[in-house]
Amino acid sequence: MEALIPLFVAIPLIAAFLIVVFGKLFKGFHRFLAPLTLLILLCMAVFEFTGLGENSIPYAMGGWIGKEGLPLGIYLVLDGFSVLMLCIINLIGLIALFYSLSYIAKYTAENNYYALFCLIIAGMNGVVLSGDLFNLFVFLEVSVISSYALVAFGVGKTELEASFKYQVLGGLASMLILLAIGLIYWQTKTLNIADIRKVFEGGYSASFYLFVQVLLIAGFGLKAAIIPFHAWLPDAHSSAPSPISAMLSGVLIKAVGIYVLIRLFFNMFVFSQEIALVLTTLGAISMVVGSLLAIVQWDLKRLLAYSSISQVGYVVMAMGMGILLLLRGNNEAAAILAIGGALYHMINHAVFKGLLFLNAGSLEHRLDTRNLREMGGLSKAMPITSTTSFMASMSISGLPPFNGFFSKLIIIIAAINGRFYLLATLAVIVSIITLAYFLKFQRYAFYNKAAETATQKIKEVPFPMSFSMIFLAALCLALSLLAIPSVSETILSPAIDALIQPEIYSTTILGL
């Protein structure tokens, strides 16, 4: 059980190295090895998930077990929240990789693509598992540096420009994070997340605490593209190859941005009112502004990218609300509802945004354009793409019976229960705006009178691509089941418990 934990990082690394060496010698080696790796990882993640339950398992790297409650080496921690993230990362990764099998065939240097894909997965798994602040930073860099290269994989003008912008802002974010880590080490003399919390519980100076938290919010906010730190996202996510867009929007901004923010603010810092307010406000602003910016886009993938900003805003806002409610102390049920809604929406967003980007990729694959004005009348020519994208659009705009409806509903109910009436109204309004711009996408791409393009010649995409889309669309329906209390009890509750009871997290590490 715990011996599997380091393999989540080691296996994709080994696969990447093997692909670089042998990919040139044996044709088709990488097309076989990379999906196999992801499949193994997914099976391992599901196995860990079923066996874990409410526990949290620490793993001491190198066998360095601390003495007297002081950690010594690097700890990896597998708890309800991280195992949930592992499942999402490897699932979406597997689907995107399967989709790539035919999508990437038009590019050169395919084996580099698969190697970088394995590295990005290794980096994200490392981030999610890490229980050590600096180690988290190192693996974050692994995943973002490979994503810089993957964004510019097509080496055209727009890709290179987007990648440059992404690199500069990503580099800035890394510097802010590194500075914050340095300051935290200066104050607490330790890097272990649980141990840092122990030191902070013993007291801290308010100005230092606030400064570090602001640095971390700015740093990880840049990685997660919360407004006002979003400048790079529309470019990077729209110009990357579509499976990579699905990876970036679906899981990367969550694994290196939202996950880390949540982990640090719930399990490392002691809650503070100011920061919870800042998070809630930033989330609400991203939610509204992102959707308003999305509605005016004519480039399909830019529209999807802005909608990612908006949907991530929901998650951040619900998390901030959860902290505020926990601090208030008199309404824990609403707090649990808010946090659960945030996690649920995060999973849902990974699935339907991944699906939408894959749809956009199919359209681009057949039409060679991303401009909505140049599409039209494709519902007959590409039935699978059309149906799946309809399901994803309805899901993201929050129509029943799709999963997006339930997660948004939970967030709104939590807001009303917690007496955040303004936020609840905003969430409803943004949901309607979302519906508006996805109807625009549906109408212009599939149901409009055929534009200049001769639609007869356009065929449905090949099997790997259509299969991935169908799978994710089915998942969109299946995830609605999470709204049933007994199902969410087994799947979401361990993650929520891991967050709202930081003592569990601390004692399993420090009590060794």
Partner: protein, 112 residues
């Protein structure tokens, strides 16, 4: 404390460069400068008055050594910095071949 303040000034100089410069190479330089200032802050944190460099001498007598952990962190960060700079340079030279300039105002999507 004065050294930490000077380090932070160096950090701000780098930040100023990233925000105001309009040249790909200069933006990369500014990022490197920010990195350098953080390296120095980290090593300063680990310094101990009258401490020795963290290499145990053969006699093995008990002595004060400076903190090796920030040094290990900085070593890691230096290599990360090299990786970032290399990637930035690769993109910069590629963009230069396309546009014959390093200036981001001449490059379509990078304005502002």
């Amino acid at each position: 404390m004065i050294v930490y303040i000077l380090c932070f000034i160096l950090f701000l100089v780098g930040l100023y460069g990233v925000i105001t410069r309009r040249n790909l190479i200069k933006i990369a330089i500014s990022l490197s400068i920010m990195e350098f200032s953080i390296f120095l802050i980290l090593v300063l944190i680990g310094y101990i008055e009258n401490g020795l460099a963290p290499i145990v001498d053969a006699s093995g007598s008990a002595q004060i050594y400076v903190d090796p952990l920030p040094q290990a962190m900085v070593l890691t960060a230096i290599v990360i910095g090299l990786a970032t700079t290399a990637m930035l340079m690769a993109i910069a030279i590629r963009l230069y071949r396309k546009y014959k300039t390093f200036d981001i105002r001449e490059i379509k999507n990078l304005r502002g």
